[in-house]
């Protein structure tokens, strides 16, 4: 089924489908961010693919990459019990991506959570505001530039903790 998925997506989005990888635990496709809504819509609504369940949606941050912020979607086709992982990466100066709340109601809070922690803006989201953190927080805490421990601390030497 993997090649079928790439075939259908490639036919429709051609150059925006970068990479299809089935070496890891799940079939993974990386797509360019402007087409993400179209890809998810195709995966959900194409009767041959029929991925009707959005399992998770989460953010990820690779500060050293050209496109540092990412969104990862896990979709599930119940009938054939097939899972697929869609990844897309965004620039950090304008991390805007279109929402999938119109396709999956469940994406509402997942996108709010991703916005809350990574600052990724989901265009067209009905209520994009912080969900787990306080409203007046002025940064996005899951980004890698915010270390978990205070970096100015001197009483803990990382060398002794294997870090």
């Amino acid at each position: 089924m993997d090649s079928e998925i790439t075939g259908i997506l490639k036919a429709k989005f051609d150059l925006d489908i970068f990479e299809a990888d089935n070496t890891s635990d799940m079939f993974t496709i990386t797509v360019s961010y402007p087409v993400i809504h179209g890809v998810i819509k195709e995966l959900k609504e194409n009767p041959q693919l029929n991925f009707m369940f959005l399992t998770t949606l989460c953010g990820i941050h690779y500060p050293d990459r050209e496109l540092p912020l990412g969104v990862v979607y896990h979709l599930h086709n119940f009938h054939e019990n097939k899972r697929v992982r869609i990844k897309t990466f965004l620039p950090s100066d304008d991390p805007t991506i279109s929402t999938v709340t119109d396709l999956f109601a469940t994406a509402n809070w997942m996108e709010r959570e991703t916005y809350d922690f990574y600052g990724i803006i989901f265009e067209g989201h009905p209520n994009l505001k912080r969900i787990l953190n306080v409203e007046y927080l002025d940064y996005f805490p899951m980004r890698k530039e915010f270390p978990l421990e205070d970096p100015t601390r001197e009483d803990k030497d990382d060398r002794f903790f294997g870090r």
């Binding site: 998770t56 989460c58 990862v72 119940f78 899972r83 109601a105 787990l132 421990e149």
Partner: protein
């Protein structure tokens, strides 16, 4: 005078005895009818995903305890299986069956709490107190297996720290003997009780399509009539060795959710009995030097063992690069772990798919048009656990 309708705003929570945790619901009500509600969550957010990025793998198990604290062993074992999947470890049947026993015990306690609380919220306190006695007995089994009760940190990556003792097996057997009797009595109290049925049937219903669209999993989606269970779809821990039935509801209302959970307890009992009867001989841990502590007598007498012990405890073990998604059937839905490792001693990114965070957002739709007392029942029947909701 204008005929314009005015609504009342009622603030339910964050601290309210009927919400079983810290949730806030700002309800817009018309008399007693609910027009809309807005949920505020995050009161006990502890940033587990961030903390996990700085913790060695074995220390993350203690974070998972605190997600769904009503069934902590499922979370612990789910996490351990995720790391095993990353490392490519295949556990033996003995470990698998031990895990099934513990996970099903956890499922029973979770369902018992949820179902008895539905009773409490509809005015029947007796059942709650009665089944809590049995929950206590399961906690005694946990205590015998791992030493802890609520936040268990049970098992290790690659197996268990110790085998079931004869006391543990005796306690499981005693529990299996007592439980059906108690459960039957509990069902007698509620299952065909006219008042209970009137209070729960047709309350907070959700259709199958909507349940899928809202990302429902676990007993909640099965109550809506979708036969989705990770234990069957992607069998882990040798669940495919056993026969069990998936109870399904039709309306997805509070009564269906109650019945589905009730039947699942029976199925879990059957699973535990089968797993215990067929528990094979063998080692209770796999040879995973990276995570299994060397035997204590060697640590005290041999230098290498001491160094190795120290290395593991200080979390200096490097894990290979990789990316895995592993999910288990938690007591309230698909509990997923999305783990990205860049090869260090800690995960690069760990995302928990927390089932109640995902399905709690459907609450406004489920309670709209109902009355306030039904909203409370709907909420408790969805089995929303504050720790898991806020992560």
């Amino acid at each position: 005078m204008s005929e314009e309708k005015t609504y009342t705003t009622l603030n339910l929570g964050p601290i309210h005895p009927a919400t079983h945790g810290i949730f806030q619901n700002v309800l817009t009500i018309d008399g007693e009818k609910i027009v809309n509600t807005e949920q505020t969550i995050g009161y006990i957010h502890r940033a587990f995903e961030k903390i996990a990025e700085r913790r060695p793998y074995y220390q993350i198990a203690t974070l998972t305890d605190r997600l769904n604290y009503c069934s902590a062993p499922i979370n612990n074992i789910g996490w351990q299986m995720t790391v095993e999947k990353l490392l490519g470890i295949k556990t033996n049947k003995k470990i698998d069956y031990m895990r099934i026993i513990l996970m099903e015990l956890a499922r029973i306690t979770d369902h018992l709490i949820c179902n008895s609380v539905i009773g409490v919220d509809s005015g029947a306190l007796t059942g709650f107190v009665y089944v809590f006695q049995e929950r206590e007995r399961v906690y005694e089994i946990y205590e015998e297996v791992c030493g802890a009760r609520l936040t268990t940190n049970m098992g290790r990556i690659g197996g268990f720290e110790r085998d079931f003792t004869s006391t543990a097996i005796r306690k499981i057997k005693e529990f299996l003997e007592r439980m059906p009797k108690v459960l039957r009595e509990f069902e007698k109290l509620l299952l065909r009780n006219r008042i209970f049925m009137d209070r729960t049937m047709g309350v907070g219903p959700i259709s199958a399509e909507k349940a899928i669209n809202y990302g429902f999993t676990g007993p909640n989606i099965r109550a809506a009539g979708v036969d989705f269970d990770i234990r069957v779809m992607n069998p882990y821990s040798s669940y495919d060795d056993f026969q069990f039935e998936l109870p399904l509801g039709t309306n997805g209302d509070t009564y269906d959710r109650f019945c589905v959970r009730q039947e699942e307890i029976w199925q879990s009992l059957k699973l535990i009995r089968n797993a215990l009867d067929n528990l094979p001989e063998g080692k209770h841990f796999m040879e995973v030097p990276a995570f299994c502590l060397p035997p204590k007598e060697y640590v005290y007498s041999k230098m290498e063992a001491l160094i190795w012990h120290f290395k593991i405890v200080m979390g200096e073990i490097e894990v290979p690069q990789g990316e895995v998604y592993h999910s288990v059937e938690g007591a309230n839905g698909e509990l997923g772990f999305y783990l990205i490792s860049d090869g260090g001693r800690t995960p690069y990114r760990l995302h928990f798919r927390r089932p109640c965070f995902i399905y709690y957002q459907a609450l406004p739709e489920m309670i709209r048009g109902g009355v306030l007392s039904d909203a409370i029942l709907t909420m408790s029947s969805m089995n929303v656990i504050a720790g898991e909701l806020d992560g």
